[in-house]
Symmetry: C2
Subunit: 267 residues, 2 copies
């Protein structure tokens, strides 16, 4: 079984990801697709007159400040437009997909952090009423039910708090948690770059391979959104996933190429 | 088992519907909730600068003209905001809900009608590129899997065409098709009116009971959106559903009251 995460940044070829996934699933491989939707959420937020607010935590991670209105826009784009668009593509390719969020069947459960301390212009600032959180528990019952029934799950944030509130969580780390809970062989993290780069502006500076014991040396190359991908990879491998691949979602066969080792392989 | 449809019109008390459903499910009743989202879709469409276009078919039924952009807005609101909002409420009440569209597991499958003939200012007009359709087949495998696994399905349009395209379908008729396929005892159709009224402006003119053999006499009282509800009820009873209740979704205990016979009971 494999878990594939496809990001939500600009340039991602969802048609190719879905066509490629369909051929892999039809060849008998069990797979779960986890997806994002950040670029489209930004676009829709702007159009709705509620521009996105990206914040950087004191520990240096970037995230979307998610008040209740933002959470609802987030759900519209991630669970509505993106999720159903992917399910539709897979169905058209003959894959019986089922689109779900972490709320459904409480798949991704954890703790809401309503207060977030951010750095703004070098100063600490406390934001309240934030609907973000951290997944602590993956409830696999629904996932197993679907896989055993011949369905292909397509998952997206939000997750659910222990109190039953929807909460925004990072998609890469959510995929890593799922891969860990399922003890899959491979976790593939697709985005709009070829993998982890030494120089962020130079796609030829791709790091092809990282032995896990040397991950600390390489983690420093990760910038922006790549930082959470590396964090997710570390968590997944620590929990028993054999291999994590960062690969390019802009190509014609993104998953097939990642399975063949193209991208950054962490093992 | 019961199927409950809750509309998407203004004034509906979703908190009450979910709290009431939770108490019924926790008492051991198996239930499936089908919901709409028309008022919210209109509001979001306006805000996105793509105002809704309601059209009336030559046979007199009102529907939303659904080009591809409208379909995506429709999915954002129905499958994103509304569906996940309902799942979240149910989870908070301790019901392990799973939100799905008719695309997921191909639950609602049918034929797309890309061309629609409408009446506009008394003249016939043909509209193309419409993503609406008619459900012909209910695929119950996923529904049974969920119900047997202890999950409560929360369903919403769109449905899926035989070719794997998302298509807008009427929620009341979709609920009726589901109720028929499952041969449930009761189908409850909740909206922002107390039931079928003799005089649309006078809520005291409620028709409390309609024996099915006299439905033709009463169908004439249905105006606007109520016409499809009556059509759905007729289809459901013809296919073996014992009782259909039209009831009020603005009260504190909408489902409990409908089960007690408040509203318009067709049997």
């Amino acid at each position: 079984m494999i878990v594939i995460k496809v990001g939500g940044s600009l340039g991602i070829n969802y048609d190719a990801v879905c066509a490629d996934l369909a051929s892999i699933v039809k060849a008998g491989q069990k797979a779960i697709l986890v997806h994002g939707g950040s670029a489209e959420t930004n676009r829709i937020s702007e159009r709705l007159g509620k521009p996105p607010r990206m914040v950087t935590s004191v520990s240096g991670y970037e995230s979307r400040y998610t008040d209740r209105e933002t959470l609802e826009i987030f759900e519209m784009v991630y669970c509505g437009k993106m999720n159903k668009g992917i399910v539709e593509r897979l169905q058209r390719h003959g894959v019986n997909a089922v689109g779900l969020s972490g709320l459904d069947g409480r798949i991704w459960e954890g703790i809401r952090k309503a207060t977030i301390t951010i750095l703004e212009a070098g100063k600490k600032k406390v934001l309240r009423d934030d609907f973000t959180g951290k997944i602590e528990k993956v409830n696999l019952k629904l996932i197993h039910l679907l896989l055993n029934g011949g369905f292909t799950p397509v998952l997206t944030p939000p997750a659910i708090s222990y109190d039953g509130e929807a909460m925004n969580v990072d998609g890469d780390r959510a995929a890593a948690m799922l891969a860990s809970a399922l003890k899959v062989e491979k976790l593939i993290i697709l985005s709009n770059v070829p993998g982890l780069l030494r120089e962020i502006q130079d796609e030829r500076s791709l790091i092809p391979e990282i032995p896990f014991q040397r991950i600390e040396e390489f983690a420093g190359f990760a910038k922006g959104r790549m930082k959470k991908k590396v964090l997710g990879a570390v968590e997944a491998i620590r929990e028993g996933v054999k291999e994590v691949v960062f690969a390019d979602a802009r190509t014609a066969l993104p998953i097939t190429e990642a399975l063949a080792g193209k991208g950054t392989v962490i093992h």
